[in-house]
Each structure stands twice: as structure tokens, then as C-alpha cells.
């Protein structure tokens, strides 16, 4: 497994943002009720994450070596503005795409998974390509987790889950079991 390959697999499965890092939990728990919506949210997340990785790399390379203390603020401000800008562009160019992804963009931009991606990529010292692959893996990993979760939740809608359990507690426990299942990917492609 090449380095890029492992970065991708690791972000996608082994160190899944939601199931291993607990990032992006509120969309994960809040929006995972419907499969359709979840998938679109996931795609929007992939999109924003890739942009984030790009922004973070540019900032890290050209700005933050001179002013490291502005890291957090600049990440937030720059990512939010760029996403907003792209949102406007999409709205102009492809209203259909905007309708399917756009409504999620403002929701996602301030959540911790996006910020976390920028910070982790920085901390790990990823270059441009590594950062982009990392973002792709993390975004798809988020999508995978939320789509599986949505499938599970839609199915349990119809079964007789005890009233006491229903709601967030139940979703957390499902996430726990899902997270347990994802532990199976630990060590993937790293055992020689």
C-alpha cells in the first residue's frame, strides 16, 4: 500500500471521522433519518472537505508560516468564505446541483469535522496531494458512516424499539455497534 493509498483507507475506514474520531456527530445523529438526505449531505461534505484541504494547504504554505497564531481564525474565516463563494457560483451555474447539495453547505461549513480535517491535515504535515486524498477519504468515510446509519435507522422506524430507548440514546448505541464493527478494519494494510 502506497502512502497515499493508506492515507485514504485510514481516513475512510480505520480512522473514520465519525466512528473513530467522533467528528461531525451532530449531522451524523441529526440528519441520518433519511437515506436520501444522508447521501446528499455526505456528498456535500466530501465537496467541502476537499475545498477545505485545499484552503488549509494554501494557508499553511503561504500565510501561516509567518503568523502561526492566526491558524484557527484564518481556517474558519477562509473556509467559510470560500464555501460561501462556491455556493454562489454553483447557484449560478447549476441550480440543480445547488438544490441537491447547496442547502447543506451552510450547515456543514462550521461543523467540527471540517475544521478537524484542516487541523489534522496540518498536524500530520500533509502536503497538497496527501491533504486532498485525506479529505476525500474522510469525506467518503463520513458518507459511508452516515449512509449506513440512515439505512439502519430507516429500518428501525418500523420495528418496536422501546419508547425509553428511542431517540438519541438509541442512535448513539447503534453508532457504538457500528463503531465496533468498523474496528475490524484496524490494522488494514499495515501488517507486513
Amino acid at each position: 500500500m502506497g502512502d497515499l493509498g493508506w492515507i485514504f483507507i485510514s481516513a475512510l475506514l480505520i480512522n473514520n471521522f465519525v466512528l473513530a474520531y467522533f467528528l461531525g456527530l451532530c449531522p451524523f445523529l441529526g440528519v441520518s433519518g433519511k437515506l436520501e438526505t444522508s447521501f446528499r449531505l455526505g456528498m456535500a461534505t466530501v465537496f467541502v472537505m476537499v475545498i477545505t484541504a485545499l484552503c488549509a494547504w494554501i494557508l499553511n504554505t503561504y500565510v501561516l508560516i509567518y503568523a502561526p497564531y492566526l491558524r484557527l481564525i484564518s481556517f474558519i474565516v477562509v473556509i467559510a468564505s470560500v464555501v460561501q463563494f462556491i455556493e454562489m457560483v454553483i447557484k449560478k451555474l447549476s441550480p440543480a446541483l445547488f438544490r441537491s447539495l447547496g442547502i447543506f453547505l451552510p450547515l456543514i461549513t462550521t461543523n467540527c469535522a471540517i475544521l478537524g480535517l484542516a487541523i489534522f491535515a496540518t498536524n500530520k504535515g500533509y502536503g497538497l496531494w496527501e491533504g486532498l486524498v485525506y479529505a476525500l477519504g474522510a469525506g467518503l468515510g463520513f458518507t459511508l458512516a452516515i449512509v449506513l446509519m440512515a439505512g439502519l435507522r430507516e429500518e428501525t422506524e418500523l420495528s418496536e424499539v422501546p419508547v425509553l430507548v428511542k431517540g438519541i440514546a438509541f442512535n448513539l448505541i447503534i453508532s457504538g455497534i457500528l463503531s465496533m464493527a468498523f474496528m475490524g478494519f484496524a490494522g488494514l494494510f499495515s501488517s507486513s
Partner: protein, 245 residues
């Protein structure tokens, strides 16, 4: 406590002018910038010292007998001493004893472990082609299993005198028989092998680029103001690995 204030956070004005909006943001940014820079400056030295000390401690742990160290960078195929922070640098560290005689290199290397990336720093003595110490800088291995790669003193001690030729090999615990073998941790074979692989990769990357033994860069006494603190690293206390991160 006036009640009117309760509902009107924006001052109840109609449309404020765009200038007003930008102005507010600019002021907010300015104030926040001032606060941040103040804190940054106030903590800068401590943080730098902390980091330097951490690094020094790690280097001293993997290179027994070291009193001084300096950073080396590869420039045009040659190792040169560097004293400034540079971007995209991949440094190794050279260790020297009190008299300034070269002892060995401390080489950082990283790679995938059981859970996430493991970052290792290991000491290497080119004359004997030996690894003389290993220190985990960062890892997220499973508590109780994989974290033995730094919590298990016996495992760490494997790396105190280890031949790098032809290649370091992890074998089942208790079956170590050759000088280039280590005993893997039972129940954490994968993490153990990962550490070995990471060191082997470090060797592959660096050994061919190191200068002939004897022609290492000499110790340049530039700004060694607080090097005294490194005394504690004189020897490698096995138990000291615990919680050292």
C-alpha cells in the same frame, strides 16, 4: 437591570450601512488579532522551550551518553547543520558527548500502525551499524495492547543494541536469537512489527545518505544556552518510558 435591553441585541436600528457591517467585522478582527498576538508573544518562549526540551529528551533517550545535539538537514545530497526553522524540512539529529565528539544520529520515522500513524525516533550509531534506542513520539495504538510498544520496558529494551543488517526482524516473543531480531509483544504483534518496519524504512531512507563514519559534521557551538538541562538524558532509564509522552 433594564428590561429594554433584553430584546434588541442589534440596537434595533434598521438596515445598517454595509460600511458599518464591514467596519464592525474589521474592529472585531482587529481586537481579536491583538489579543491573540499578545497571548502568542506571552507564551512563545515557554512553548518553544517545551518543544525543544521534549525533542532533546527524546534524543537523549535514544542516544545514550549524549550531552549535546544539533539538527542536520540534507542539502544537495550532503548533511549540513541547521539552526533555523525551515519549511518542509526532514531533519535528523546528531548527538555529541560532553567533549563534542560525535556519538550517533537520532532519526525520526513514521508509518501506519495498528490504528493510526506511529511516529518513532530511534538512535543509530553508524560506526557499529547499530540501533541503540527507540522512542515513540506519537501513536494511537490500543491501550493495554498496542501501547506496550512504549509502555513495555522489555520491548523498548529490544532496541538498545540491535544490528540493522540485513534488516531488523520481529520474531515471536522469546525466540530472539540473532542480533538483528527483536521479541514481538504477545498480543500486539502488529504494532511490534510496525515499529520494526518503520525503523527499517528510516534506515532505508537515511543510511545511504549518511557520511562515512568519522566524517560526520562537527559540533558547532552556536547558541547552546540551556543545554545543561539535558543532563537527565545521560543514560536510558528503562522505567522512564512510562507516561513520558
Amino acid at each position: 437591570m433594564s428590561d429594554q435591553e433584553q430584546q434588541a441585541p442589534a440596537g434595533g436600528a434598521e438596515e445598517p450601512s454595509p460600511n458599518r457591517l464591514v467596519g464592525t467585522l474589521a474592529v472585531a478582527g482587529l481586537i481579536s488579532g491583538v489579543i491573540i498576538i499578545a497571548v502568542y508573544l506571552a507564551t512563545f518562549n515557554t512553548i518553544k522551550e517545551n518543544k525543544a526540551r521534549e525533542l532533546r529528551e527524546a534524543v537523549f533517550r535514544v542516544l545514550p551518553g549524549v550531552a549535546h545535539m544539533q539538527k542536520l538537514l540534507l542539502k544537495d545530497g550532503k548533511l549540513v547543520v541547521s539552526h533555523v526553522e525551515e519549511k518542509d524540512e526532514e531533519p535528523i539529529y546528531a548527538g555529541y558527548d560532553k567533549e563534542g565528539n560525535f556519538i550517533g544520529y537520532a532519526i525520526p520515522s513514521a508509518g501506519p500502525g495498528f490504528q493510526d500513524t506511529i511516529s518513532v525516533l530511534y538512535g543509530y550509531r553508524p560506526k557499529e551499524r547499530l540501533v541503540v534506542g527507540m522512542w515513540i513520539l506519537d501513536s494511537r495504538e490500543t491501550p493495554g495492547l498496542g501501547d506496550k510498544i512504549y509502555k513495555d520496558a522489555a520491548f523498548v529494551a529490544n532496541f538498545d543494541r540491535l544490528e540493522v543488517d540485513p534488516k531488523i526482524v520481529a520474531v515471536k516473543k522469546g525466540t530472539k536469537s540473532k542480533p538483528n531480531e527483536i521479541d514481538a509483544i504477545t498480543g500486539a504483534t502488529i504494532s511490534s512489527k510496525a515499529v520494526v518496519r518503520i525503523i527499517n524504512e528510516g534506515n532505508e531512507r537515511w543510511l545511504s545518505k549518511l557520511p562515512e563514519p568519522g566524517s560526520e559534521p562537527a559540533f558547532e557551538k552556536v547558541e547552546e544556552k540551556k543545554g545543561e538541562k539535558g543532563k537527565e538524558g545521560q543514560e536510558h532509564p528503562p522505567g522512564a518510558n512510562d507516561e513520558g509522552l
